[in-house]
């Protein structure tokens, strides 16, 4: 005997004590699928038979069942469930999770139950208990359907139980095996002519009957049309639309979900009392001219429509009024009502139309959701959802979206077929543009990246980033990327330096990278330039604007005018560029004054006086020779220190003196370039001309023969340069560091202090741990690239922001800031 159950459901076993429920459950389901009341009684009271613990046990059982069902897992309840109130609670749990409850009743003869209980020492209660259970069960049997169980299977003998097999059935909304490609078509509302035109535009060939009426359309290739519902009402030829769509659906050339207008039309055709308005009167009038059998067929067709479909392995959901992720592939009255009417509040607006909540603003699902129902001036993406109701019947247009191509195709209305209840001109935008939710960024997060797989952000990292992001960062619409941190090269074992290029070259050679590029490191501040044809932003590593107000606008204007050629050659409205902005003091003047200059001033004031005093003491014959030598050295170190930081500061007046060294073109509309060689980047950005821009000196080095690279670094740093960055020329990502910095000996004084070059200090400083910094550099790089790819793919802002926020969150990690 086959027991058919939906492939997502709550199975409620019903039977007296001793009827064999647990055995049945063990035979047909996984141990983790079965929630037994005995087990939960034990869990809360250490005694499976302690009936006084039942209330607490069922609380926990219901809770676990809810969690499983929310997660889409078949769940089996192993309890007697002979009392209606107990079952009602389970039906409630199923409904809340929008899954179907089914009942499997084990109606075993009393003697069988008694015999089984007699074999179990812990079931020494009398025969009256079993009898009472069975009596309650029999009173219940015929009401199970009414109680809400979608399927009821009753097994009445041991042999029936033995021969039973469980057969899973797909839900009606489950068309995951239909992979497309599809042409999803918005609300037609009886506009047959426009529909025919659109189908032809989409490449379908219309099939006509003897009377010249379109009765089918043959799709191009293996495509299939999908209608979002509301085929009927308002328009001039509802019967014609139905005839065509019914033909297409019957031939397997189309699918259609049910719209609220089909729902009401069916009720009207069946003679239910409905208020005839909103265009229903047109359908009824037009159908009245059709023969009875067509009316019947139309009624049957409309009534057969399902409220939503899940297609293409779960990647596409079509529902008339849209559907939030938690309802995808679920079945309940709630799900159905949402799919038909949307997220209504029960209120009506000034035009008497129901107020609907903008569910798409909060949509965070990975499946694309296509829908109609709500009139929009233009079909546009909101968080991977799109409304295709562009009001053809009101004189707008009929719109289709090609899936998976994401191409919009539409035809204009031939005329205004129906006056809108609400003037088209008053159509407000459907949303606050790209609303970001707190839940997009807070808590423990795992962000999937193409380079590294999942990158984990801990809750406390998110919490720190939230403060910085919301208090100081620019508008997320412009904050499309944050640059990753960069690790220094492995610590050198040479006597006189902490960092040396040899380790960098050796590291890449070991990783199998032969060609690396050495790029001069500009000592300024990292800057990301988002240059839009209008607007944009220039911001820092933590997302702050570089210059406020007019000065910022002017800098952006200058960059923009230099970018004219790039806009054209990449055919884009915006460019995202990674750069260094100089001088250092343009951003860091406060830090330099408070910190670096203060060290120079204090050391310059104190040490010469100390040297003088020691010299006087020495002249008196006091033995201070060692101390004098050390102090003189410290005085020299302090001078070298001041010279080192002053080199990177120069006067800035307004924008005079500001320079930008761009080194990577991160993205343009629809494209990223992180797989291009660094030479390509430098060359491309080298086209930015004018006194504002500074070129980046560079050298390509073979890691097998790196002598030239070492020399280049020596020359660079001896001339006062900060140092260089070594990157794989081919711009690899993933497990290899995207770049390592090799900083000059003098420059590092600014970082490690004036006296870091003293041998005793160097020895201790060499024990720096780089692992954490290197790990962060890889993860932040992967997140940055992921952000760029999501931008290029045109993904919703929250998906981009999630990655950008992740970079900032990782940056909150306490890492030795000298690295």
């Amino acid at each position: 005997m086959e027991l058919k159950i939906p492939d997502l459901c709550l199975v409620v076993l019903i039977g007296a004590s001793g009827s064999g429920k647990s055995t049945f459950a063990r035979k047909h389901f996984l141990p983790t699928q079965v929630l037994s009341s005995d087990y939960f009684r034990g869990l809360v009271s250490d005694d499976e038979n302690d009936q006084s613990a039942s209330a607490a046990a069922f609380d926990v059982l219901h809770y676990v069942a809810s969690k499983r069902l929310e997660a889409g897992r078949v769940t089996v309840i192993d309890a007697t469930n002979v009392q209606a109130p107990d079952r009602a609670k389970l039906v409630e749990v199923a409904k809340k999770a929008n899954v179907l409850p089914v009942a499997i009743v084990l109606d075993m003869p009393t003697d069988v139950c008694l015999k089984r209980n007699a074999q179990r020492p812990d079931r020494d209660f009398g025969a009256h208990v079993v009898k009472r259970h069975r009596a309650a069960l029999h009173r219940s049997l015929k009401f199970l359907g009414k109680e809400g169980f979608k399927r009821v299977h009753v097994l009445r003998s041991e042999s029936e139980v033995d021969n039973a097999t469980i057969v899973y059935e797909r839900l009606l909304n489950d068309l995951k095996h239909e992979a497309g490609p599809f042409d999803v078509i918005g609300d037609v509302h009886g506009c047959r002519a426009e529909l025919e035109e659109l189908l032809v535009e989409l490449g379908y060939s219309l099939v006509h009957d003897d009377e010249g009426r379109a009765v089918d359309a043959l799709p191009p290739g293996n495509r299939k049309a999908v209608f979002v519902g509301d085929l009927v009402d308002r328009g001039p030829d509802t019967p014609g639309v139905l005839r065509l769509v019914m033909g297409m659906v019957a031939a397997g050339h189309a699918l259609s979900v049910r719209g609220n207008h089909e729902e009401k039309l069916v009720r009207a055709l069946r003679g239910h009392k409905v208020t005839v308005r909103h265009g229903l009167e047109k359908s009824l009038e037009q159908l009245a001219h059709e023969p009875e059998d067509f009316r019947r067929a139309a009624e049957k067709f409309c009534d057969s429509l399902i409220a939503h479909y899940v297609l293409d392995g779960g990647n596409l959901v079509v529902a008339h009024a849209g559907l939030p992720e938690r309802y995808h592939g679920r079945a309940s009255a709630k799900v159905r009502s949402f799919a038909l009417y949307g997220d209504t509040t029960g209120e009506t607006d000034e035009y008497g139309l129901p107020v609907r909540l903008p569910w798409a603003n909060d949509y965070r699902g990975s499946a694309m959701v296509l829908y109609g129902h709500v009139l929009v001036p233009e079909a546009e993406w909101i968080n991977n959802t799109m409304c295709l109701e562009t009001g053809v019947v009101f004189g707008g247009k009929l719109t289709a979206l090609r899936y998976p191509e994401k191409e919009l195709v539409s035809v204009k209305a031939h005329e205004v077929w129906y006056e809108n209840d609400r003037p088209l001109s008053t159509l407000a935008p459907q949303r606050e543009p790209d609303v970001l939710a707190l839940t997009d960024v807070t808590g423990l997060r795992r962000i999937e990246t193409s380079l590294l797989g999942a990158v984990t952000i801990r809750a406390e990292q998110s919490a720190s980033a939230l403060e910085v992001m919301s208090r100081f960062a620019i508008d997320p619409h412009d904050l499309l990327y944050l640059p990753p941190t960069m690790a220094p090269t492995a610590t050198s074992q040479r006597d006189d330096v902490l960092e040396h290029p040899s380790e960098a070259f050796a590291e890449y050679l070991a990783a199998g990278v032969r060609e690396v590029i050495c790029e001069e490191k500009h000592m300024g501040s990292r800057a990301v330039l988002l240059v839009r044809k209008e607007g944009g932003a220039i911001y820092t590593r933590t997302g702050r604007a570089f210059f406020d107000g007019a000065l910022g606008d002017e800098l952006l204007d200058r960059v923009r005018s230099a970018c004219a050629g790039l806009f054209e050659s990449f055919d884009t409205d915006w460019l995202l560029i990674d750069a260094e902005l100089m001088p250092w003091n343009a951003k860091a003047s406060g830090l330099i004054r408070e910190q670096y200059a203060a060290v120079g001033a204090a050391a310059g004031a104190a040490l010469p006086v100390a040297v003088g005093a020691l010299e006087s003491a020495a002249a008196r014959g006091v033995d201070v020779a060692d101390l004098l030598a050390r102090t003189s050295q410290r005085a020299a170190n302090a001078s070298a220190y001041s010279a080192a930081y002053e080199r990177y500061c120069w006067p800035v007046e307004g924008l005079e003196g500001v320079r930008i060294a761009p080194f990577q073109l991160l993205a343009v509309e629809g494209r990223t370039f992180h797989d291009r060689s660094h030479l390509w980047h430098l060359e491309t950005l080298g086209r930015l001309e004018g006194p504002l821009f500074q070129q980046t000196r560079h050298l390509v080095v073979d890691t097998l023969d790196p002598a030239a690279g070492v020399r280049w670094w020596e020359e660079l740093t001896e001339a006062g340069g900060e140092g260089m960055v070594v990157k794989p020329l081919a711009n690899l990502g993933g497990r290899v560091q995207p770049g390592v910095k090799v900083r000059g000996r003098e420059y590092l004084r600014i970082i490690y202090g004036p006296d870091y070059t003293e041998p005793t200090n160097l020895t201790r400083l060499r024990k720096r741990g780089l692992g954490r910094k290197r790990g962060l550099a890889l993860r932040e790089y992967a997140l940055g690239i992921e952000a760029l790819e999501r931008v290029a793919r045109g993904e919703p802002l929250w998906r981009v922001h999630e990655c950008v926020f992740g970079v900032l969150a990782l940056e909150s990690e306490p890492v030795d800031p000298r690295l």
Partner: protein, 441 residues
């Protein structure tokens, strides 16, 4: 430190350090060297040189860059003070077995501190009998400071011990409870009479309020005055603007018959503490973007030891007003007290959406400074905002324009309430907008 008291080399006896030897002492802040560049009968100079180990200054992975490269090894501040107190402890106590008389005698002294933050040096040293001369080092905070006076060596050392970190201000790290004792001991005999004793006490104790109060109380005892008298000097004479603001907010909440209240941007919980006192606010939800501020609020509300009944009324949660937070929906009223001016103007639409479209309470109260009133604050330099983090300060007209726009877009009615003393021309120092949605009217 130089003296011309003759025989000048007696200075060595007072300091317990021989003029012909260089000595080194390991102290908790580094190795302190004492030597004498000059030691004749006419003039004797002792030098204290502290060698700080810059690498060892760093503490743990949470350190900021400013701890790595910093002026501590060179500047006369708390590190030097620690060395001073350790190397010259006996001399500072004024004890000398061999020269008790000399130790009690004021002698001519010149003290030179080559790298000292000098802004307050004249103000603080002059009342103690020092003649102060300063040669500045460029535009840095450091100066080469020379103090000249006739004082007991022990007093001179005590002055230095207390005032070096005071001059250095927030740049010294250590403040423990026993610092109060150290301060009182080193300040014995002079601090109580110093005209700037509050300033010295506050800065010495790194502005830690509780410590400051207890030290002030004990100073009051020394002075034989009532503690309140000193405390009054700290309290603002009139009812403060902050208190008036809270009062106005609570009044407006009560008028709106709000029971479930959101404090958006609650900070350290100043308003929350007032809300809790009013039992009609049955649910109080404090929200701030700063986890640190929330910890502070929890501490000040004594959440860990308050009764369950009070505890259940309060929720504290981190959230940001530039993100939509569904958890904030369903409240009667939301208060944004001195919050909007901390948000960049470009982010105000996001805040508007979070508060008026997502949280969407019946009543929203927004208070913000009235910039027109700023000239009436005597201590506020012209053109400067009231807080360094303010992104803007609005005139009354500007605030009305913003509030009016929000009200229209979001379906609220708005009225404006002045808070604080009203000036005929410039209005009140704080302005409040009371938004109410349809049902509330």
């Amino acid at each position: 430190m130089t003296t011309t008291h003759q025989p000048a080399t007696d200075l060595g006896h007072l300091l317990h350090k021989h003029p012909d030897r260089a000595q080194s002492f390991t102290t908790s802040s580094g190795v302190a060297h004492v030597f004498y560049p000059k030691a004749t009968n006419e003039e004797c100079t002792v030098a204290l040189l502290l060698e700080v180990d810059p690498v060892a200054l760093v503490r743990g992975p949470g350190s900021t860059l400013t701890q790595y490269v910093n002026d501590r090894p060179y500047a006369a501040g708390s590190l030097l003070t620690v060395a001073l107190g350790s190397v010259f402890r006996t001399a500072m106590n004024g004890r000398s077995e061999s020269y008790p008389e000399l130790a009690r005698t004021p002698i001519p002294l010149v003290v030179r501190i080559p790298a000292l933050p000098h802004r307050l040096a004249k103000r603080l040293f002059t009342p103690l009998g020092w003649d102060v001369s300063i040669i500045g080092h460029g535009d840095s905070r450091y100066g080469d400071v020379t103090l000249t006076g006739t004082l007991k060596v022990s007093d001179a050392l005590k002055h230095l011990y207390v005032l070096l970190p005071v001059l250095d201000g927030g740049k010294h790290y250590w403040v423990a409870a026993d610092e109060v004792d150290k301060l009182l001991k080193a300040g014995d005999g002079w601090l109580a009479a110093h005209p700037d004793k509050e300033l010295i006490t506050t800065r010495y104790l790194a502005r830690k309020r509780p410590l400051v109060l207890s030290a002030l109380e004990r100073l009051a005892e020394v002075d034989e005055v009532e503690p309140e008298e000193l405390d009054n000097a700290l309290a603002e004479p009139k009812i403060s603007l902050a208190a008036q603001r809270k009062e106005a907010v609570i009044k407006a909440l009560k008028q709106a018959r709000a029971k479930r209240v959101l404090d958006l941007g609650c900070g350290g919980g100043a308003l929350l503490r007032e809300l809790v006192k009013e039992p009609e606010f049955t649910e109080i939800h404090g929200v701030d973007v700063s986890a640190k501020a929330l910890r502070e609020a929890a501490r000040k509300l004594h959440l860990d030891r308050t009764s369950d009944r009070v505890r259940e009324r309060i929720t504290l949660r981190q959230s940001a007003l530039t993100y939509a937070d569904a958890e904030l929906a369903g409240y009667d009223a939301a208060v944004l007290m001195e919050v909007v001016e901390h948000v960049d103007p470009s982010r105000l639409p996001a805040l508007e959406h979070s508060v008026f479209a997502v949280a969407k309470p019946r009543t929203v109260l927004v208070t913000t400074p009235n910039v027109e009133y700023n000239p009436l604050f005597e201590t506020l330099p012209e053109g400067q905002m009231r807080h360094s983090d303010h992104r803007f300060e609005w005139t009354r007209a500007e605030f009305r324009e913003w509030a009016g726009g929000v009200a229209e877009r979001r379906g609220y009615a708005v009225r404006h309430v002045p808070i604080g003393p009203e000036d005929a021309e410039r209005g009140a120092p704080t302005q409040m907008a009371v938004f109410s949605s349809g049902e509330a009217n």
